[in-house]
């Protein structure tokens, strides 16, 4: 499943320009240190963090897309940086728990 497939199936709102990629696994954390230590290449990253440093953190570990949950507003500088890096920032009104449930229902598990 690719990023664009997920956008369609989960009703996610794309905020940045991005490279469509295969998604491989899900990582849930609101800590960049946790992501850098534990996320894997191709993971979806679910978070409520919106500071622009989530973009270089995601880029370091080759995250396929960042989903900002709970309808958190993403600042323009974060979106611009993500577009520059071609990393998808997607928005969901759902809480992280609910979104994880839907992803699990689509067959996603952690790598």
């Amino acid at each position: 499943m690719t990023t664009k497939d997920l956008i369609e199936r989960l009703g996610l709102k794309p905020l940045s320009k991005f490279e469509d990629r295969d998604v491989d696994g899900v990582f849930v954390s609101d800590m960049m240190s946790d992501v850098m230590a534990g996320a894997k290449s191709g993971n979806l990253w679910l978070t409520i963090q919106t500071h622009k440093s989530i973009v270089p953190a995601a880029n370091l570990v080759d995250i396929s897309a960042i989903i900002v949950t709970s309808g958190k507003e993403v600042p323009e500088d974060t979106i611009s940086l993500a577009s520059r890096y071609d990393i998808a920032i997607l928005s969901s009104e759902l809480a992280t728990f609910e979104l994880v449930g839907k992803l699990y229902g689509l067959g996603f598990g952690t790598k």
Partner: protein, 174 residues
């Protein structure tokens, strides 16, 4: 990554000489604003950032490379167009290679710079784990930043995580 230990990088500033110093602690979070005197210096804790320390272990030969001297990785925000890091970033961006700056602990005058070969090992670590991305990472040394007091880069670490509100702004540390 092996021997991962989560903890805090503590940033302290002397308001007498304006020196910034940092150290890692795996203990309890230290209170911000705490002040104490050490000789002629009056130190105040200005930031706690949640981070981690780690080793890289070769899965083939078992060689261990410790990164205990790495304070953190800084993302260049392009605040100074003539900064060597920003100049390098503009050059590498064409090849979709993204720079981060590897910092040792501060102050710069006292720190042992993280050796270049270790930054290369860490760059290789991140690059070899990229499955489908066309982009690459390059970790560059902190001495490329000539004047830290002018740097508005962002460290890739967690600040304000003990707040009930999601942090959106960061203090300028330098």
């Amino acid at each position: 990554m092996t021997e991962i230990q989560f903890g805090f990088v503590v940033f302290e500033k002397c308001f007498h000489c304006n020196t910034l110093r940092t150290y890692f602690t795996a203990g309890d979070v230290l209170i911000l604003g705490d002040k104490y005197r050490e000789g002629d210096c009056y130190w105040s804790r200005v930031e706690n950032a949640q981070t981690f320390q780690f080793n890289l272990t070769c899965s083939r030969c078992g060689q261990v490379e410790s990164f205990g001297d790495l304070m953190g990785l800084l993302h260049c925000t392009g605040c100074l167009s003539e900064c060597k890091v920003e100049i390098l970033q503009r050059r590498y961006e064409i090849e979709k290679t993204w720079l981060v700056v590897g910092f040792g602990f501060l102050p710069k005058s006292d720190q042992t710079l993280v050796p270049g070969y270790k930054l290369d090992i860490l760059s290789d670590y991140f690059n070899q784990r990229r499955n489908t991305s066309r982009s690459r990472i390059k970790i560059v040394p902190s001495y490329l930043i000539e004047d830290l007091s002018c740097c508005k880069g962002d460290f890739i670490h967690d600040v304000g995580m003990l707040s009930s509100e999601t942090p959106s702004e960061r203090k300028l540390l330098f």
